[in-house]
Symmetry: C2
Subunit: 478 residues, 2 copies
């Protein structure tokens, strides 16, 4: 117990200093480290394995919905960025520029991609000529660079990893359908893989992507009551197609301009995982993405038969497809329990001489701390079922937490109070950007999404009191 207390003390109290708790957890669990260049991060093996699991799950979903992967160059001619007016306004101040190779200055400076709409549309204009070439359904896994003033590992870094889907369609309807389909792919992934409940819907004009006709977002509530934009899906209309002169000959013999979409999620999702599920002991990882799903910690490992039995359990679980680790290091069992709890491993198995005598093992759940004694001959089956149960329970917890922190507000005072009490605020809004800006200035809360279910909860704007017909979620956000 002394061990455990000492261990926990190394992590800041999340109720007292949430940002410090976050920093402690990500560094001490070796998910990440700071890179030498300000604002960059090193994703260490334990963090990268989570990303690999995320990639695996998402990539399967993208392929099942007909998308293929490709790779476009990271260097974009500066002139491309200038072509779409809103796009350049949104990105120009934060792009990294390559101006030299060795000692030689380049004729045109190059943008390190902050996103790839421009270069991808340039290529599509070369590839697409006929309606037979449509739809184009391509995704890219890549690194992107956006120079941000305030950075935090996973949440906001100069360079991050992501995927960006870029599609082209014959009709507006088809493109809008794609935009919403991919939003739903994301939502289902958040629910069933990351076990995070999200609010989805269109963003307001002021919050949409630079160059988009409409942006749909998903927002996840972190344990400090702040919202994290976990992913976006953009309907781009014909904006980029026109600027990059993408045309196709339709079956009726006329030249037309296709409609495009783009959608992306990033390593930010790892930040979402940490802040949606963690607790005072550290990480709490959903089994579907946990690098280690089950750890076996032998007790009194020097006693006859303990190591052997532990190995036997390890082999059985491994054969059943469980990502399992057997911890035979020198440290005490208590130290190991704490470390694996901090690392968020969903299920722990403890096995000692007395357990072996009784033909049982002790199983501990990370999500509920529930401890059960399990007969060895049903252990593997119990672990598999428990992993499923942990996965489901973590989502239920996330959903319950989020929905219990949604408060309705009729006026600015109510909104301000609800935000201070770490809630998402559901309110009516007149639609004017001035009210949005005023709310932000007064409460530091911004509009997050407008839910698809627009059943009104009043008829007056939460800010100006004038007639309002839009339902909006407001929250402080990362």
């Amino acid at each position: 117990m002394a061990d455990q207390e000492k261990f926990v003390k190394e992590i800041a109290d999340m109720t007292e200093d949430f940002p410090q708790w976050y920093t402690d957890v990500i560094l001490k669990t070796q998910l990440v480290d700071y890179g030498p260049v300000k604002g960059t991060m090193v994703i260490r093996p334990y963090g990268y394995e989570i990303w690999e699991n995320i990639q695996h799950e998402l990539d399967r979903r993208f392929k099942e919905t007909g998308h293929k992967n490709a790779y476009f160059p990271m260097f974009i001619p500066y002139s491309y960025l200038l072509r779409e007016a809103e796009h350049v306004e949104g990105f120009a101040p934060e792009v990294a520029l390559v101006t030299h190779v060795g000692n030689t200055e380049l004729e045109e400076k190059l943008v390190v991609r902050p996103t790839s709409e421009t270069i991808i549309c340039e290529m599509y204009s070369r590839w697409v000529h006929s309606y037979r070439d449509l739809p184009v359904l391509i995704n890219q896994w890549a690194n992107v660079v956006r120079w941000e003033k305030t950075t935090r590992p996973f949440l906001r870094t100069s360079e991050f990893l992501w995927q960006e889907g870029h599609t082209l369609h014959r009709t507006e309807g088809e493109a809008v359908d794609e935009t919403l389909k991919m939003l739903e792919v994301y939502r289902e992934f958040m629910q069933n893989v990351l076990a995070i409940y999200v609010l989805t819907g269109p963003k307001t004009e002021s919050e949409k992507f630079a160059g988009a006709t409409a942006t749909y977002g998903m927002e996840a509530m972190m344990l400090d009551g702040k919202s994290l934009q976990a992913g976006t899906s953009h309907y781009l209309g014909q904006n980029f197609s026109k600027v990059f002169k993408i045309n196709y000959l339709d079956s009726d013999g006329t030249l037309k301009v296709p409609y495009s979409t783009s959608w992306g999620v990033s390593t930010r999702l790892i930040g979402a995982l940490i802040m949606a599920h963690g607790d005072q002991r550290g990480l709490k990882l959903p089994p579907k993405v946990a690098p280690v799903q089950t750890v076996i910690v032998p007790v009194a490992v020097h006693k006859e038969g303990v190591a052997e039995k532990a190995k036997e359990i390890y082999e059985t679980l491994k054969k059943s497809g469980v990502r399992v680790e057997l911890d035979l290091r020198e440290q005490s069992p208590g130290w190991k329990f704490n470390e694996w709890e901090m690392k968020g491993v969903p299920v722990r198995i403890e096995i000692g001489p007395r357990d072996i005598e009784n033909n049982v093992a002790v199983m501990v759940r990370r999500d509920t701390h529930e401890k059960t004694t399990v007969p060895l001959d049903t252990l593997c089956d119990t672990v598999l079922k428990t992993l499923d149960a942990v996965q489901l329970n973590m989502f239920e917890q996330s959903k319950a937490f989020t929905t219990s922190h949604i408060v309705e507000a009729k006026n600015l005072d109510e909104l301000s109070k609800a935000v201070d009490e770490k809630n998402f605020v559901k309110a009516m809004w007149c639609g004017c950007p001035e009210c949005e800006a005023k709310i932000k200035a007064m409460t530091a809360a911004s509009s997050r999404v407008m839910p698809f279910d627009q059943t009104p909860i009043g008829d007056k704007c939460v800010c100006c009191g004038k007639k309002a017909d839009k339902v909006v979620y407001f929250a402080r956000a990362y």
Copy 2:
């Protein structure tokens, strides 16, 4: 047949103009396109799927040998590059430099990684303190940038995709073992996955990696008789460890400097695939990495039952794990045969009304052009066996081609003649860099590797005629 001839005419004759054949093949099969910035490439879905299959196969091998993936920032402080003298000399002239963000000049310019030894060793110096922290076995999948004057898609591009392993070890012996182990992982992969025979061994001093103590390479012979360096594994000694001040407390209580290795292969392997296996009709892909392993082309698809039977075969093959495509496009069967041959699909199934009547299908192998009539009830099994047979045969072809193009030379005249006749030349070498340079100047052939089997084939240097005890392969190279 008219169709076929026309199609083939679109690809240059590989015996007359091999470089043009290569360009025609990569563009017409839509493996790749040129990016807007000179020297960059867009890897299109058909090319990227090959890369995904390569990644999948290699990644499994890396993990089976105990490595984990991580991700390090792409921006490296310029000062890091300067720390290792040979390293900076090798890379400084070709590095892309980020000097500005938006309109603001950076205090220190940043190198876009040409390789990551420096930044990774910097991080290792923060992570490694005790012998318990060793070995460190980390790999990274990433994009790197090296500005080259002459570029060609896959073979040499400003930006390319690769993996780079970076490991740290307690002893010299362990690090050398790792270097050789990964070379063997690569060799086995080339043989069993890409079906390419390679020559392996240490490189000479003048050909080794900038900063390495020893570089081991694998060289593959392309169909034009030139050699392609397909991958390298470097033993770095304590060079980088010392420069980046990596120290660990050993079990004997003394502070020691670990030994490091690095090893990598890149999207260049796709170029190797094309030039080691292609023919006048286009690509010839080994089944293990072919995006489409089997294509089904129905004949007289409008006739009753043809499309249904083709779909049935498609479903059966798909269920058996074959990457199969059913081509129901409008074009003629002849056009489709040619297109899929050009795209290198290992096995083609043709099925028409008469075949269905006889309860058979026609199967055509891409490697041998062999055509067989196969009963429908054994078709799936036959396809699976044939894919294995194609894979094996392609390696045997590659091995036979390479070994039949290795010629021994006793003097410069013989060497020059053998190189002109598109061979690898096995010769004795005295070990002095002047002879190597002279051979290169006179024949355009460079030393490729020194085979592990150093059984002498003479005792005089092929260049200067003085006493020689080193066996070297010379060849013109990409």
